[in-house]
C-alpha cells in the first residue's frame, strides 16, 4: 500500500501534526501505520501515547585493536574515509564517534589485528496506538548517526498497510533515509521566506529521489503568497491549508491531536488522502 512521507525542509512547520492527524483520520477505514522517522527529536508519541511493547537496540560496529597483533603499519588509518583512526607515534587511536561502522579497516589490516564490537546508537520501539501499529526510533544523546536507526525502523513497515512516515526536518542524510522508497512526499511549509526557501530545498531532494510531491501550508495566514505562487509555477498541488489559530496552538501545546479536539478536521484529512491518491493515479 501507499507510503506517505511527511517532510518539510524547515523545522517546526507541522510535520508531526499532519502525520498524527492523518493517521487518526484514516483509521479505521484504512489500515494505517505510523512511523516516526525523526529519530533525533521524535515527537509523535507525545500526541498518541502508544503502547510500546518491543525494543530493539540499533548499533554500529566499531573497531577494537589487538595491540599484540597490531604492527602499527597505519593501513587502517589510511583506508578510513572518516578519519576515525589515527596512528599517533606508537599508538593506534580509534574515534568511535567518527566511525561509520563500514568495516573497511578490518578488511585492509594485514595482521588481522582488528575485531569489531557493537556501539549502541539508539533504539527502535514498536507497538500500537488507537488500534493501529506505531513505531519510532530514538537516537541516543551525543550520537551523530541517525540513518542506521531510520533504516532499521523502516523494516517495521507492513506492506499491507498504508504507511505514514513522519520525517526529520532538513534535507540531509536522515531526510534522504526517510524519503528513500516512499510513494509520495507531503511537504509541510509556512508562507514565510524561510518556509519557501526550505520548501524549495525539500522539493529538490524529493525530485532527485524521484518521489512525487504535494504541499500543505500551515499557519497559511501568517505571511505572504509567495509559497502559493511557487507551487503554481512548479505545478505542485496544495492539498491542505491550516490557518493560524490560538486554539489550535493551545491543544498542540498540550499534546492533544487536532482531530481529537476538533473532530470536524477529520474530513479535511480524509480529503487530503483522496487528493494524494488522485495524484498518484
Amino acid at each position: 500500500m501507499m507510503r506517505i512521507a511527511i517532510a518539510s525542509g524547515k523545522g517546526g512547520t507541522g510535520k508531526t501534526t499532519l502525520a498524527v492527524n492523518l493517521a487518526l483520520s484514516l483509521h479505521p477505514e484504512h489500515p494505517v501505520q505510523l512511523l516516526d522517522c525523526d529519530v533525533e527529536e521524535p515527537n509523535a508519541h507525545l500526541f498518541l501515547t502508544p503502547d510500546l511493547s518491543e525494543r530493539r537496540a540499533v548499533s554500529k560496529l566499531v573497531p577494537t585493536i589487538d595491540e599484540t597483533l597490531c604492527r602499527r603499519c597505519g593501513a587502517c588509518a589510511e583506508a578510513c574515509e572518516f578519519s576515525a583512526m589515527a596512528l599517533l607515534g606508537d599508538r593506534m587511536l580509534v574515534y568511535d564517534a567518527l566511525c561509520h561502522g563500514c568495516g573497511r579497516c578490518s578488511l585492509v589490516c594485514p595482521a588481522e589485528a582488528i575485531a569489531e564490537r557493537p556501539h549502541t546508537l539508539g533504539v527502535v520501539e514498536t507497538g500500537s496506538t488507537h488500534g493501529f501499529p506505531f513505531a519510532h526510533g530514538v537516537l541516543n544523546v551525543g550520537e551523530t548517526m541517525a540513518t542506521p536507526i531510520i533504516h532499521v525502523l523502516k523494516e517495521a513497515i507492513d506492506p499491507d498497510r498504508l504507511a505514514i512516515l513522519d520525517s526529520p526536518p532538513g534535507t540531509g542524510c536522515p531526510t534522504i533515509a526517510a524519503l528513500h522508497g516512499v510513494d509520495v512526499a507531503l511537504l509541510v511549509t509556512e508562507p514565510t521566506p524561510f518556509g519557501l526557501h526550505d520548501l524549495k530545498a525539500a522539493v529538490g531532494v524529493a525530485r532527485t529521489l524521484e518521489v512525487p510531491v504535494a504541499v500543505a501550508i500551515n499557519r497559511c495566514d501568517l505571511g505572504d503568497s509567495r509559497v502559493e505562487e511557487y507551487c503554481q509555477e512548479e505545478e505542485i498541488p496544495i492539498v491542505l491549508t491550516i490557518p493560524f489559530d490560538r486554539a489550535i496552538a493551545e491543544t498542540y501545546a498540550q499534546g492533544i491531536p487536532l482531530v481529537s479536539a476538533s473532530p470536524a478536521w477529520r474530513a479535511r484529512f480524509q480529503q487530503l488522502y483522496e487528493r494524494l491518491e488522485e495524484l498518484l493515479t
Binding site: T13, T16, G170, H180, P193
Partner: protein, 288 residues
C-alpha cells in the same frame, strides 16, 4: 573570539529570528549559518556575496562495468545495503566508505569525490557571514558545517571580530554536534509545547555532554501559559538560566517577510522582549 550558538532541538522555535536579532544588536562580530540543510540566516540580512566555492565533501563508489565479473563480494561487504544483487550501486545509500573498493578482487570499483554543496561568504550590515548550501540529495551535512565554521574563523581573524553568532540546525545529530565543537556558550530556544519541552531536554543533554554552558529563551510563551510553566520548572531543576520569554507577535512574521530582523521594525512586543533578552545575556555571559 567568543562563539555563541543558537540551538533548539525542535525546529521552528525561532533560532534564526533570535540569531538575526542578536546580530543586529551587536558589533565587531562574524556570523555563521550552521544549518546548511536549510540555511535561512542570509534571508533576513541584507547580504552581498563576496566569495563562493564548491564543497567537495564525500565520495561515491563507482563501478567499472567492463572489469566487473559480478562475483558479488561487494554486495556482501557493503553494510549499507547500497549494492544490489545485480551490482548496481545506489548513490543515496552509498556511504562512500570504500569497503567495496578494498574487497573487489577485480579493481572494478573506485571512490570518486563528489561536489556536495557550495560554501559562501557574504558581507552584511552586521558583520561578515559564512554560510553554505547543500545540493539536493547530498548528505555530508556535518562536514559542510565544519567547513562553514572554518570560514567563520578566518573571517573573524581578518576582521579582528570579538564575537561570533552561530545559527544552528534542529535535531541533536551530526550537524548539531559538528556545530557545537569549539563553542563558548549556547542559547537554547524553545516553545511552550510538549514537543518543545521534550526536544529541549534532549538538546540540553547534548550541550551538557560537551560541557558547554547554556541559556534558555522561551518563544511564543503566551501561546500556552501552562506549558511555559512546565518549561520553567524544567529549567529551574536543570539549572538552566532563563534569559527571558518572547510573546507571540505577528510583527515577527511580517518583518521576516520583508527580509529584516524583528528588532529593526521599531517598537514591537517581540522586538522589545528580545532587546531585554540580549541585554541580560550580555551582562550575564560577560560576568562569567
Amino acid at each position: 573570539m567568543k562563539q555563541i550558538l543558537f540551538l533548539s532541538g525542535k525546529g521552528g522555535t525561532g533560532k534564526t529570528t533570535l540569531a538575526a536579532a542578536f546580530a543586529a544588536l551587536s558589533r565587531d562580530q562574524v556570523l555563521a549559518d550552521c544549518d546548511v540543510d536549510a540555511a535561512n540566516l542570509h534571508l533576513v540580512l541584507d547580504v552581498e556575496i563576496e566569495a563562493r566555492g564548491d564543497y567537495i565533501g564525500s565520495k561515491e563508489a563507482l563501478r567499472d562495468a567492463a572489469r566487473c565479473t559480478q562475483c558479488g563480494i561487494c554486495v556482501d561487504v557493503c553494510r549499507f545495503r547500497a549494492i544490489s544483487p545485480d551490482i548496481q550501486i545506489d548513490p543515496y545509500l552509498c556511504e562512500g566508505c570504500g569497503a567495496c573498493v578494498t574487497a573487489c578482487p577485480e579493481d572494478a570499483i573506485a571512490l570518486e569525490p563528489r561536489v556536495s554543496g557550495q560554501w559562501f561568504n557574504a558581507r552584511t550590515p552586521w558583520g561578515p557571514l559564512a554560510s553554505a548550501e547543500l545540493l539536493p540529495g547530498e548528505e555530508t551535512t556535518g562536514l559542510l558545517v565544519t567547513e562553514v565554521k572554518r570560514n567563520m574563523v578566518s573571517l573573524g581573524e581578518e576582521t579582528a571580530a570579538q564575537q561570533a553568532i552561530l545559527d544552528g540546525s534542529p535535531g541533536i545529530g551530526c550537524p548539531v554536534i559538528a556545530s557545537v565543537t569549539g563553542v563558548d556558550v549556547a542559547v537554547l530556544v524553545t516553545e511552550p509545547s510538549v514537543s518543545g519541552l521534550h526536544d529541549l531536554k534532549r538538546i540540553h543533554g547534548v550541550v551538557k555532554h560537551f560541557g558547554i554552558p547554556a541559556y534558555l529563551v522561551i518563544n511564543k510563551a503566551d501561546l500556552s501559559p501552562e506549558l511555559t510553566q512546565r518549561v520553567e520548572a524544567y529549567a529551574s531543576d536543570a539549572e538552566l538560566p532563563i534569559l527571558g520569554t518572547i510573546p507571540f507577535d505577528r510583527t515577527v512574521s511580517d518583518t521576516l517577510a520583508s527580509g529584516r530582523s524583528v528588532v529593526e521594525s521599531g517598537d514591537s512586543t517581540a522586538g522589545n522582549a528580545i532587546r531585554k533578552i540580549y541585554q541580560r545575556f550580555m551582562e550575564d555571559s560577560n560576568a562569567h
